[in-house]
Symmetry: C2
Subunit: 308 residues, 2 copies
């Protein structure tokens, strides 16, 4: 999960304004929620295909989930403990015709109309890999599993930094198996991620990073995460050169998710898991930022990587 | 918007069980929310490309939105008046560390934890075209506009009918302009939609249909909609042969959306709009239902249409 720490030295909305002015993004009136033009979407899809190509030799199992998660799985995942401020829950109307009249009156009055909308048994997906773990409860085959998963994800962090969207796509590969298998798999993806960023002509750096844990208790979790090197990020300048943005995140979960969802290796032990997540819109924005908004004028090596 | 009337003669979950057993869909523990296997997703994408090919000669403007809508635009759209029971609102945590402790205690106790989650300024997208109208407030160019839009959509209708998903993708073309332009455009798409269904070997029928309006007042709206032929559907057997399911919906909105979002023709009058929506998962399910779960054995004409 790319870090969401406050950004020092953010450019004053300049890049977002440019993107909107060139109609690469389309304003919706909500900070961090944008439409995409045909060209921007095409760039995102080309990045997605190029990224899928890197992982193809592994022949991972492809799974796709809609951008919602079973609320019971979400509770069990521990997300509310660490990141309550980023979560999005889904609510739906359960009322009769009388409640409906009250609802419409509240809308007409410009008032709050939450009351008629209790929680539904789903929440917005916080990271593409979250639906994978509950789907794999049980024994893994010999050698473990590899899963390729992609979806829109939600983070409640309204911002004018275009790289800090509330709804964005994350393409992840997930590895489940013995600890050594998982660790060496992540190392291979670190090298792949660095090559990928280089092929796009990005000035990328690798960092040991931390998740944006909530509250004072979260500080301790972050220190522990950093000390153990559990989270690595590939960062590049997008909204700011001082505080570059994570475009790829490589996370070793140890036995966190496997314990919660009872995922076991072939010999019956609790599995370890890791994931590598590519932030598709962030990568696209990094490329536009680095090479300019005129796609036709990008360096030929970059255009080649994207099949342009 | 495909109809959501109760289904007579629904097969007792047989088709859903088959799809899960063959791992084309993946259970999540929530009715109407499924993961998709690599093959199912590939079939959906091939249907999407074939459908895009039909509209390509029109050279529509492509827009893509994440599956959420500005809550103010949602209020203005009138959706809550007609379809409150299908809506999904998004809520997020706004509390401090004390509220966080109370939240975690409620989760631990297995209780309700909605209280800490007030409404966020976004809702789930009910139909792919909803974000398009607020983005086009103002004057249309001479001849109007055509927009190609696709996204995941939400309908709160938990069901064991696999064709009645709560989260599914809808690919739409939208026409905005003079009434006559819009009406003749919809007629052209009726013919295209019928050819498309035939190319997939589906036993499709065209119907004058109605939206699933809420409550007793909704019955009148439905009668009016049917009398004016505002909603046409291409229906095929999926979960039931008695009550076939809409896979494509062609809707003439008259000046409903243009009035609400102040979209005007080049001469300053209120525009008219229409949309044609292809339910991508429903079309895929219809093809699996018609030709069997072994994709390699589908008729060569169908495989040809999908580039298989």
């Amino acid at each position: 999960m790319p870090s969401t720490a406050p950004q020092a030295g953010v450019l004053p909305h300049g890049f977002l304004d440019e993107l909107l002015h060139h109609r690469l993004l389309i304003a919706t009136g909500v900070a961090g929620v944008y439409g995409r033009s045909g060209e921007f979407e095409d760039t995102v899809e080309r990045i997605d295909r190029a990224m899928a190509g890197i992982g193809a030799p592994d022949n991972p199992e492809v799974m796709r989930f809609p951008p919602v998660l079973n609320r019971a799985h979400f509770e069990r995942s521990g997300y509310l403990k660490s990141f309550p401020h980023l979560a999005g829950t889904i609510h739906s109307f359960g009322g009769d015709e009388q409640a409906h009249r009250a609802l419409l009156q509240a809308v007409d009055d410009g008032g709050s109309w939450d009351a008629g909308f209790p929680a539904a048994p789903i929440v917005l997906t916080p990271a593409a890999c979250y639906p994978v773990y509950p789907a794999l409860t049980g024994l893994l085959p010999e050698g473990g599993r590899m899963v390729d998963v992609m979806s829109y994800c939600f983070r409640h962090e309204p911002s004018n930094d275009p790289a800090r969207m509330q709804m964005f796509r994350m393409h992840e590969h997930v590895r489940l198996g013995e600890a050594e298998t998982v660790v060496s798999w992540r190392h291979r993806w670190v090298l792949r991620a660095e090559s990928f960023a280089a092929a796009l002509g990005l000035e990328a750096e690798r960092q040991v990073a931390t998740d944006p844990f909530f509250g004072r208790g979260g500080k301790l979790l972050a220190v522990n995460q950093r000390d153990q090197g559990l989270k690595l990020e590939i960062v590049v300048p997008i909204a700011s050169t001082n505080a570059p943005t994570a475009i790829i995140s490589l996370n070793y979960h140890q036995d966190h998710f496997a314990e919660l969802f009872d995922i076991r290796t072939a010999d019956g032990g609790i599995a370890h898991t890791a994931c590598v997540g590519f932030g598709l819109e962030r990568i696209a924005l990094a490329v536009y930022r680095r090479h300019g908004l005129a796609r036709a004028e990008w360096p030929s090596s970059v255009r080649g990587t994207l099949g342009l």
